[in-house]
């Protein structure tokens, strides 16, 4: 196996053409921070895009940034911060959860895995901010799609295909995203000691109000002290309010009055608020124990607690709700829960992803939820049209994708 590290887009194309001509396969990596996510790849070569670096365009007043695929997210975030801007979709950092380094990800990996964070409720995911790219398909051809403007319906939206494709369709060399002004302040309104059911309702009430809550999460009692480091364990339901000072002050009052039936809350200001949401974003509050497997369950927000309620887990189950109930991070002992979780999801809709297996357990066949046959067949046809010889990250998403 060789490790190929192109230094520019032309070399990237050459490298892929070469592997294609050898009738071999390759694993695509940037910093490798999410290598353990999903199915592992067994390939003849490793194509490392981490030398394709650098921000190539950043016009703050145009809200647009372009960078080469291997550019580190840290570098991009630092550059954005200089102009009080950010990536509103708040890409999570899988590093800590996957036992890797923190802050190691690249923009290419961020798009390939369609990352998002607690602000997904309001701001969407990477896919929603991805304006254009250039890359090389599994046919060894360099192509581009999209552009540098937000409003663009010229041709198919291939950005959507690339976001979340885990490098199975093409290897991106250049990426353009929309950036936004960062809110100058944030505060979190916190309610205590609600049951899961009460919390789910409270989050619905808050999200359905005009208070512009940008994130809402509920942390049950048993893991609450991992979030706050306080000795006392009590369930916490958090509502994030971001924006200009006068607006936040006004919305805090309004939210407190709307939620008065759920008790009297308290207010967490910066920088604690930011730190809490970062921990929730990166699932840092779940046990680090290696005997545990970690699941990410996406479902209709209002069904969050009902879904958890109908699962009869042992007492070691750790979990919390983000996205107002629409995202459940769940830590369980053992790996043999896939069919149980996915069967229960059938009635409410959604999907369960195995983010990390317990140690000693073999790779799961399907970390991502299996698809309906018609949908799977269509995706396979798309894969065949981008990468007919299946040379790019073979089997990364599913056995044949």
């Amino acid at each position: 196996m060789s490790h190929i590290k192109p230094e520019n887009a032309a070399q990237l194309e050459e490298a892929i053409q070469w592997v294609l001509s050898q009738e071999e396969t390759m694993e695509i990596i940037g910093s490798g921070s999410k290598r353990k996510l999903g199915r592992s790849v067994k390939a003849d070569h490793q194509l490392d895009v981490s030398a394709l670096t650098g921000i190539t365009l950043y016009e703050p007043e145009e809200l647009v940034l372009s960078a080469r695929a291997g550019t580190s997210l840290m570098e991009i975030q630092e550059e954005l911060a200089k102009h009080n801007q950010y990536m509103a979709f708040e890409p999570m950092d899988y590093g800590p959860l996957l036992k890797g380094k923190a802050d190691a990800g690249t923009i290419g990996g961020m798009i390939a895995c369609n990352l998002s964070g607690p602000r997904r409720l309001k701001a969407g995911a990477a896919r929603d901010h991805f304006l254009g790219f250039s890359g090389v398909s599994g046919r060894g051809e360099t192509f581009k799609s999209g552009g540098r403007v937000v409003k663009n319906v010229t041709g198919y939206d291939l950005m959507k295909l690339m976001a979340g494709s885990y490098g199975t369709l093409a290897v991106m060399s250049d990426i353009t995203i929309k950036v936004l002004p960062a809110p100058p302040e944030e505060k979190s309104y916190v309610l205590y000691e609600l049951s899961d059911e009460e919390a789910n309702r409270a989050m619905s009430v808050a999200l359905n109000s005009s208070c512009e809550v940008s994130s809402a999460a509920h942390i049950p009692q048993i893991i609450s002290n991992k979030l706050t480091q306080e000795a006392e364990e009590r369930a916490m339901t958090l509502f994030r309010l971001e924006g200009h000072g006068p607006s936040i002050a006004y919305r805090v009052d309004k939210l407190a009055s709307i939620l008065v039936d759920f008790g009297q809350g308290s207010l967490v200001a910066d920088p604690e608020s930011r730190s809490l949401w970062q921990k929730l974003r990166d699932a840092e509050v779940l046990s680090k124990s290696e005997e545990r497997s970690i699941w990410r369950i996406s479902l209709p927000p209002a069904q969050g607690n009902a879904f958890m309620g109908c699962l009869k887990f042992n007492e070691q189950a750790e979990y919390y709700y983000d996205w107002a109930g629409g995202l459940i991070w769940l830590s369980l002992t053992g790996d043999h829960n896939a069919s149980l979780l996915r069967d229960k999801l059938k009635s409410v809709g959604g999907h369960a992803t195995l983010v990390r297996s317990a140690i000693g357990v073999e790779d799961a066949e399907n970390p991502q939820q299996p698809l309906e046959p018609g949908e799977h067949a269509l995706m396979k046809r798309i894969k065949d049209n981008f990468d007919p010889k299946a040379i790019l990250n073979p089997g990364r998403l599913y056995a044949d994708l």
């Binding site: 999200l207 607006s247 006004y250």
Partner: protein, 495 residues
């Protein structure tokens, strides 16, 4: 505009095809008479007209599936149509294709407030969704100017925008799920009420695919709580440069307005003469900046924007004091198209997007083109997101003037691409901009897009002749050109 040659053998089988389709969609579901088909011969781009082979109006997903499966088996082309408001000819019929009209799919199936979404049939109008949820204080955010008539199915096909895109996104950012039917009759569902899905994002790919990949039969959209309040500023500038600077300054200060619209002098004059909105007539550019959200936020930001606009040299500035006044500010902008229509027998509405800071350059070049072609042009501009709508005024009764208007339009769109923008921001490629696609994409780019089409519709039966300038057979597109024996490249670091 040359459309693909009609298939005479299909046209000769018209009666037989109609008979079979009547078995699938009984009653009045198949329309054949010339008089009735006239209604369908064009969409919102009225310069192109073509009656379809026949129109078919299914009522159930099962019928859509059977109609498509039959057409697939028999090699009959299909053009899907919602309300027919496309401004790019996306729903233009073909002589040898059935027109699949989704108008009978007009029901709101479910509103789920707890999950902040509505499940609707594709023929429900854009505004119809908001109407269905506004009593509970919700709305559907994307608001294309045709929202009273355009269908949500068409919005999905075109990835429709509107004036609030910068803050609230396009259709694609406001969809949670769809049900669709492939040309072979397979019914698929992507997404649902949850926020993301495993595998490739086919919901995102379908959005804006202009009816070339499948027929949407159900849509789940996000609905949002209505903002507590909204206020607008009406700002006049002595040049488009200073108006553009003001837009950039507002964004640089971290403010993302709900809407930010610019009009140039000809558009201001036309709008003012039409609706008497009180627009200043002695300015070169007018900016409407709308702030929406909680009361305290709006009051705070209005003051900030007012301050910024003074710094940027606004020569007139008015702040709406009540809802009526805010509506009045918008009245002129919203009536800009019909207002320009009063000045000219015909007008041609373009739809490019440019990096915002290129606006002064683009306007200057457009004035030069206007002189060159001897045709007037008025501009309205979604200033927040760079989407430009030049309205080219012409008279179709003057021989050659339509062609001149189209050439002028092409030149404008080429200019948009030249300065780093795109051919179409929200109207779609359709037939109108089909032949301009090579301005933006090279042959490899276009072939890769066509391969996506092959994955969905390998016989190219769905909406052919739209979007892509050249048709290629999927077998040809699938061929690989592998350069065997080429040496591994010594320049690339390997270890």
């Amino acid at each position: 505009m040359k459309m693909p040659d009609p298939d005479r053998s299909i046209m000769a089988r018209r009666d037989e095809i109609a008979e079979t389709l009547r078995e699938i969609v009984p009653g009045e579901g198949v329309i054949l008479s010339d008089r009735e088909l006239q209604v369908y011969e064009s969409d919102g781009l009225t310069a192109y007209r073509q009656p379809p082979l026949m129109a078919v109006l299914p009522q159930t997903v099962e019928q859509v599936s059977q109609v498509l499966a039959y057409c697939h088996a028999e090699g009959v082309k299909v053009v899907p149509r919602g309300s027919g408001t496309s401004l790019s000819g996306g729903a233009l019929p073909l002589a040898d294709a059935i027109l699949l009209c989704m108008g009978k799919f007009n029901q709101v199936i479910e509103v789920d407030y707890d999950n902040r979404c509505a499940v609707v049939q594709p023929g429900v109008t854009n505004l119809g969704i908001t109407k269905a949820v506004e009593s509970k204080g919700f709305y559907y955010a994307p608001d294309p100017s045709s929202q009273i008539a355009c269908s949500i199915g068409g919005n999905v096909a075109e990835n429709a925008g509107g004036v609030h895109c910068l803050k609230y996104g396009l259709t694609t950012n406001n969809l949670l799920g769809i049900e669709m039917v492939l040309i072979d009759g397979t019914v698929l569902r992507f997404g649902g009420k949850h926020l993301d899905s495993p595998g490739y994002d086919l919901l995102g790919l379908m959005t804006g695919s202009e009816g070339l990949l499948g027929v949407v039969t159900e849509v789940t959209v996000r609905i949002l709580p209505q903002p507590e309040t909204a206020r607008a500023l009406l700002l006049g500038f002595s040049s488009s440069e200073s108006a553009g600077d003001c837009v950039a300054a507002i964004i640089s200060e971290g403010i993302v307005p709900g809407g930010m619209e610019m009009m140039d002098k000809p558009a201001i004059e036309a709008a003012e003469a039409f609706v008497n909105a009180g627009y200043p007539l002695d300015v070169e550019a007018l900016l409407i900046v709308e702030l929406d959200g909680p009361q305290a936020e709006v009051d705070y930001l209005i003051a900030q924007v007012s301050r910024i606009s003074k710094k940027c040299g606004a020569v007139t500035s008015r702040i709406s004091q009540n809802e009526d006044e805010r509506q009045l500010f918008w009245a002129g902008r919203k009536a800009a198209f019909p207002a320009v229509g009063r000045l000219t027998p015909d007008y041609y509405c373009m739809d490019g997007t440019i990096p915002r800071n290129k606006l002064p350059l683009v306007l200057k070049r457009m004035r030069e083109m206007s002189e060159h072609y001897g045709l007037r042009v008025a501009n309205v501009f979604h200033a927040g997101d760079g989407n430009l709508h030049p309205l080219i005024m012409y008279d179709a009764n003057n021989p050659g003037e339509l062609e001149k208007a189209e050439d002028f339009g092409s030149d404008i769109l080429k200019l948009c691409v030249e300065v780093g923008g795109v051919l179409t921001g929200e109207h779609g490629v359709g037939v109108e901009k089909r032949d301009l696609m090579p301005e933006m994409f090279n042959e490899i780019d276009l072939k890769q897009q066509l391969r996506v089409k092959c994955a969905f519709d390998s016989k190219a039966l769905l909406n052919p002749g739209k979007v892509f300038p050249e048709l290629h057979r999927c077998a040809e597109l699938g061929r690989m050109h592998i350069h065997k024996g080429k040496l591994p490249f010594p320049d690339i670091p390997r270890f």
